[in-house]
């Protein structure tokens, strides 16, 4: 394989070292996604079975769901898939910088989706009084969408680590500290992203409890001051860690890693389209 690394052109659809020409990692991911289909298939079936056999006095999903918010987060997730596809194309062409920006955008969009879900869960529990234990709808809804949310969260984590990985110095580099840099970079980025999520939800919360914008802003700044400071520190650290420091060990040969991750990300999106259809839209038929 090392001999291929030197050559400029790599056929991303054929790996000469395997019997079929399909790269091992891609085949592994396809097989895993087949398995994951069955995970979600079981959860969605559970939801649909109980939709057909609702208990007497159960909750009406139409009163609870807010299709506007969910349509927005669905759109954002679809756009994240677009950015993921661009990231794969970029690294296949060896364009590390473009790949990094696309990865960051994918992470950002994924995070918006997760934020919407946190908001939605919070809203359903506190405003609509649907909890995981007080109704069968809550039981199946939170378990199904929560499992999907976990998949998105794992995807965001993976994307983040891949982004940080793209700064690993090339072999032969004299940067002895690259390993600790990688760890700190990952911690800073993940911490920063979580804080951004917290701050955004804090802002939404403030806007909801304080009708006047000025009062809301004041409430927000008071409640989220530390978090805001944390965001600045973490993002500053990220910028510092991502400054150019010579050749990196991230190039066309790693396209397969980004592509496998992309397959996972697209799959999680497709699952969401199914969930959006059969859990939300089906109720409005």
């Amino acid at each position: 394989m090392s001999s291929h690394a030197a050559t400029a052109t790599i056929d991303h659809h054929h790996d000469p070292t395997t019997a079929t020409g399909i790269p091992n990692k891609k085949l592994l991911m396809w097989a895993f996604l087949a398995s994951d289909c069955m995970f979600f298939g079981t959860l969605i079936s559970t939801h649909l079975i109980y939709r057909l056999h609702p208990p007497a006095g159960g909750l009406d999903p139409k009163v609870i769901f807010s299709p506007e918010l969910t349509s927005f987060s669905t759109f954002i997730l679809l756009m994240s898939s677009l950015m993921m596809a661009l990231a794969v194309t970029a690294i296949q062409k060896g364009n590390v910088k473009s790949c990094r920006w696309s990865l960051l955008t994918t992470i950002f969009f994924g995070l918006i989706f997760l934020g919407c879900q946190v908001y939605e869960f919070n809203h359903f529990v506190h405003e609509k009084h649907m909890t995981i234990s007080n109704s069968l709808l809550g039981t199946t809804f939170y378990t199904l969408t929560g499992t999907h949310g976990c998949h998105v969260a794992i995807g965001v984590l993976w994307l983040t680590l891949m982004y940080v990985r793209s700064f690993k110095p090339a072999a032969g580099s004299t940067q002895r500290t690259w390993f600790s840099h990688q760890l700190l970079h990952a911690v800073a980025l993940l911490g920063g992203l979580l804080l951004v999520l917290k701050v955004t939800l804090g802002l939404v919360h403030a806007l909801q409890i304080e009708p006047a914008f000025g009062a809301a802003l004041g409430h927000f700044l008071k409640a989220e001051f530390l978090a805001l400071a944390g965001v600045l520190v973490a993002l500053g650290a990220c910028v510092w860690f991502s400054r150019p420091r010579g050749p990196v060990d991230f190039n066309v040969t790693h396209a397969i890693d980004v592509e496998s991750m992309g397959l996972y990300w697209h799959f999680v999106d497709i699952v969401w389209i199914v969930i959006f259809t059969v859990v939300y839209l089906l109720e409005y038929l």
Binding site: M1, S2, S3, A5, T18, A19, T20, I22, N24, L27, L28, A31, F32, A34, S35, D36, M38, F39, G41, T42, L43, T46, I49, Y50, H53, P54, P55, A56, G58, I132, S133, S135, L136, G138, T139, T140, T143, T147, L161, R165, P169, A171, G172, S173, T174, Q175, R176, W178, F179, S180, Q182, A186, T253, H254
Partner: protein, 659 residues
Amino acid sequence: MDASAKTAYLTKEELAPAKPKLLSHPSAKTGLMGWLTTVDHKKIGFLYGFFALIFFLVGGFEALLIRTQLMVPNNDVLTAQQYNTLFTMHGTTMIFLAVMPLSSAFFNFIMPLQIGARDVAFPRLNAFSLWTFVAGAIILNIGWFLPTATHGAPDGGWFGYAPLTSKQFIPKHSIDYWVMGIQLLGVASIAASLNFIVTIINLRAPGMTMMRLPVFVWMTLITSFLIILSFPAITIALVELMMDRNFQTSFFEVSGGGMPILWQHLFWVFGHPEVYILILPAMGIISEILPTFARKPLFGYPIVVFSGACIGFLGFAVWSHHMFTTGLGTVATAAFSLATMAIAVPTGVKIFNWIGTLWGGHIVMRTPMLFALGFVWMFMMGGMSGIMHAAAPADSQQQDSYFVIAHFHYVLIGGSIFALLAGLHYWFPLMFGRKVSEFWGKLSFWVIFVGFNVTFFPMHFLGLNGMPRRTFTYDPNLGWNTANFIATMGSYVLGVGMFIYFAVLTYTFFKGERVKKDYWDGRTLEWSIDNPPPEYNFRVIPTVHARDGWWYEKHHRAEIEKEKSAHAQAEEEHGGIHMPFGSIWPFVTSVGLLVGAVGITYFDSDWSPGIHAKLGVSLVGGGIMFIGIYFWSLEGNEGYHLHLDQDGRPIADEPHAKH
């Protein structure tokens, strides 16, 4: 770790100059670190087999206790509670900790050798599967060592029917161990199966087309697909059960609108393919042994392969025949009845292929052949009683009776276990370079064979006379006394047979007579290498010219010699034999899973007491797992190159980067 234990050719310390110490590749090949960091499919296969055999003996001991309790009416060797625990753990242990990992041991050890590969596609993922299996086994059995009043070993049956497993009926943690244990075993099985699928599809030697794969490899592939497609159903069912127990959801809670029947559907959507996960590897082993000892190629190879695939497909369409008495409705019952009868067809086809293989052959009666022939006969008997269950009206009489026990022990012992025992004898000379004594091997076969039949044949009559499953004792006036006594005596004979078998195997492992390569004059590629197999498996990756690849090589020596020396030279020019480095991180990841899962088993429906400790343990476990995965990905998948001298001994090696 141990410098003196290192072999001469493994002296690398650091790869890239800037590689941190934490990510340096372990080089120990022996000792504890050698085993914990191994990524060699043969060592991993050996460990799978080692743990599986230990749990096989544990499960067998549990069975003997069950039979002792049932020896005479109104016996009081065990309490009802102990009996529940024992039959639950006997079933769970035998299925998940004995037969599946023993099959996995053969998949690991034999399959790469049969396709002409130097390892599996993802060696470190393979190590992760092994250690996660061990973690699952620990959690499943941890309850034995904890107080029975609040913990105890799992006691809800291997099927864990709702609502028996709810907090209301089993408030103690025994069910939580069962849930988390099977979850981890599922993770291990799925990870291993993904690896096998990629290995079989992508790592075949040149010329090894799909229709030249040995049948055992085909059955490994089909079994792996069954595992990745059926385990998700049980995983989600267990998640739902866990949510019911710890978060007051109502998936299976009638009071909240849940339906316990859903559990049965989800369980058997997994549970029936699981039956084929247990038997298909056995069919593969038998399809290797019969031709070798009948001195003939396998009769109707494509038919054997396609009927195996057919069983795999239909295996997903018959689950409700476990539920005929639940009132599915006439249409569903008729459909599942038909599908169940249909699945007997490809199974029967295989039996005829095996008979066709034997027909007109020069049959060599060695120990593996005896077990294989025993398999064909006993498995067929199990299939006969199986087809009786397919008729729904008959099944409603047999449901939950000892007739069912007789049926599935004929297919699981007479089928799976006989084939696995045959496989151990068959591949022992290859794995360890020693042969098992024919006298003791054959003696163990006959004792096992007689003991098995004496134990389980009377159970057919017990079942038809109305003896129900899962009852810890019975009254003397029901007409079940004699048959139960005979069955218990038979089980002791079976126990003695197993003792002889394993005592002989252990003796042979240390002191057995050494044999040269290709001891049985085999046909498939695994016999083309020295025994025990060297770490790199093949000096030269073989080129396959025929379905029985090694047989062809043996009969075209000159042509093969020329081809091999050319390939050896080409490989040497490309840098030599590529080998993967060992790694500790898969083990660390599994330890993290174990710690996290133990934390989760301690959760309760009442969250307040000790929540910080429980949450803390779970999070620490999750953290260890994350560190394991992250370092695993950061250490990289470089390997090193091996150069061999004329006798196949390594002379030098050099690290190189691999992407």
